[in-house]
Amino acid sequence: MPETPLDILRRTAQLARLELTDEELARLAPQFQAILEHFEVLSSLDLGGVEATLAATELEDVKRADDPAAGIERSALLRGAPDPRDGYLAVPKTIGAAPRTNAGGGS
């Protein structure tokens, strides 16, 4: 059975790590569908022999000299985090935690 717009959106939300409410899913699904239908015009072009543009310009990247230099202090970086602890970023327990049921995980 083909995926419905709602199925597609629900699956995409999981990939995007967004926990949408049912109300949001109901509102966003038709919008999402309308936007994609509008963008379908891209399929009408003959793109035979056309290369992809990966970067806006053909300029070459400019690399800095490989000289050691001090970066930003770890303590300063950690100050912007929600839960800095003992010089680390603390997150909920992952090893030994109960598995999630909705397969929102990944590697």
Binding site: E24, A56, L59, R100
Partner: protein
């Protein structure tokens, strides 16, 4: 209130560098204008009055001690709230980054500070720069100084409103698909999106990394030129920033226009462009012709594909860039069901607004297995066609001109319920973003809205990559010949005397 406020940045610096007392008086004038006007305009998200006064006093001492002043010495500047200024809240219009203060300053921010500019505040914007009206924000919505019931444009609406209301002479915004040029057009300002790679992106919170351009907003061409000179040039922290000499101010002195060929694409004057906008833009072209330029019809045949191409490419890049906002390293966290995955999802659900979610979803979808080739792969190839359109046109002409935006400033709330209608606001600006070209909106006149309000119209000048000087020269010529951009909204004029 103060005769400082009418000055452009070049004149402001000239007056401020007469002495430390003058410099401090100038900054006080800007801060007083913010105190007086910003309740109505709502341009500023973060007020930096205290640090601005402190910086002014320090600069004043250095000046009085004989230091040779830098090119923006003593000039107040507004920064968009997606720009890192060490220790200052950079919330990007998002709840997720409420209270987040970066531990470093962006390269371009450090450069304006080193040049002597004084940041007086961070400005309101669409969340993560996603929008065309500055309404997609978890905070206040900035207003258009020409009509407070209308949008100043977006996503750099706060920066544009701050300059148009004369609270500051200069501001920086970011332009991914038109987010500086369209607000410049709506507010009667000059706004230049430099070539991709001209200005370092280090310290600009990333939206679309192959498109983002730090972009000046000002009330005169020479100010744009000066600010571009200060912020451009190679940066060891951004490998995509080109290793070419920065543009020297003065290289843009008006030449004779007689040698210039200006391309006029029919695609930029067709259906969807409001009549008043079309007529005002055509009148500006007629003015250029009077000055001796030759107008040449050019074709940009893939223009109608630009909006879908842009919204596929930009959302794909955004979905990747915004993956870092997951409750681990930056800003706010929601705990969800207590698991790590649950924390990621709950943080993003609570922290992102609807337009950001919509774009992250679109971007994730067009990159997902089974859909990548159909959407992202195709869009990248159409992007090539759009670039080639410009390459072919520039074989015949020096510059391309057309309206910056299909409409003048629309009313707040008018397009909120229809994302596709909002996306159309970018029709004239996204092609150049996808091609990495420099483009500037310049104020060329006014047209009446349905209710009779006179609203500014912008003309967009587009040049080949790294040829900003061409744009600046022609803009200066038009500015001198027609007084383009010299009118101020009544709200600001009330503060002058």
């Amino acid at each position: 209130m103060s005769d400082w406020l009418e000055l452009d940045a070049v004149a402001w610096r000239a007056r401020a560098t007469q002495g430390g007392a003058a410099l401090c008086a100038g900054v006080d004038a800007s801060l007083a204008a913010i105190a007086s006007l910003d309740g109505q305009v709502q341009a500023f998200a973060v007020n930096l009055a205290d640090s601005a006064r402190e910086r002014a006093r320090a600069l004043a001492q250095r000046l009085d001690a004989g230091e040779i002043p830098g090119p923006l010495f003593g000039v107040p500047i507004a920064l968009k709230a997606n720009m890192c200024l060490e220790g200052v809240e950079t919330h990007c219009g998002s709840k997720l980054l409420k209270g987040y203060a970066p531990p470093y300053s962006a390269t371009f921010v450090q450069r304006v500070i080193d040049a002597g500019a004084i940041p007086v505040g961070m400005t309101h914007m669409d969340e993560f720069a996603m929008g065309s009206s500055s309404e997609n924000s978890a905070y206040e919505t900035p207003r258009n100084p020409w009509d407070l019931s209308r949008t100043p444009g977006g996503s750099s609406g706060g920066s544009a409103a701050a300059v148009a209301s004369c609270m500051v002479p200069l501001a920086l915004g970011s332009d991914t698909g038109g987010s500086v040029r369209q607000p410049a057009s709506f507010c009667g300002l000059f706004g230049l999106k430099p070539s991709y790679g001209r200005v370092s992106r280090y310290g600009l919170v990333a939206f679309g990394s192959s498109l983002d351009a730090v972009s000046p907003l000002a009330r005169s061409v020479r100010d744009i030129e000066q600010l571009l000179f200060v912020i451009s040039g190679a940066d060891p922290r951004d490998a995509t920033c080109c290793d070419l000499p920065a543009l020297e101010p003065g290289s843009g002195d008006p030449p004779e226009a007689t040698s210039l060929r200006i391309g006029v694409p029919a695609e930029y004057f067709g259906a969807g462009i409001e009549q008043g906008v079309r007529e005002t833009a055509l009148a500006a072209l007629a003015e250029l012709k009077k000055l001796g330029a030759e107008l040449v019809p050019v074709d940009l045949p893939h223009t109608s594909y630009a909006i879908p191409t842009y919204y596929v490419v930009a959302t794909a890049e955004a979905s990747s860039n915004l993956a870092r906002f997951d409750g681990v390293a930056f800003g706010q966290r929601a705990s969800g069901d207590g698991s790590l995955q649950g924390m990621f999802a709950a943080t993003r659900e609570a922290g992102f607004g609807e337009e950001v979610k919509r774009r992250v979803l679109l971007g994730t979808y067009v990159l997902s297995a089974g859909y990548h080739d159909k959407w992202y792969g195709r869009a990248q190839r159409v992007r090539t066609l759009l670039r080639q359109d410009f390459e072919r046109a520039f074989e015949k002409v020096d510059l391309i001109a057309g309206p910056t935006s299909p409409t003048t400033a629309f009313r707040l709330g008018e397009r909120n319920s229809d994302p596709l209608a909002m996306y159309q606001a970018d029709a004239c600006t996204v092609p150049t973003s996808l091609a990495g070209l420099p483009a500037m909106s310049l104020p060329v006149g006014f047209t009446a809205a349905a209710d009779g309000t006179q609203l500014p119209v912008g003309l967009q000048l587009i040049a080949p990559a790294l040829e900003e000087a061409r744009i600046l020269r022609l803009a200066a010529l038009l500015e001198r010949a027609t007084g383009a951009g010299s009118q101020r909204p009544p709200l600001a004029a009330g503060e002058f005397s």
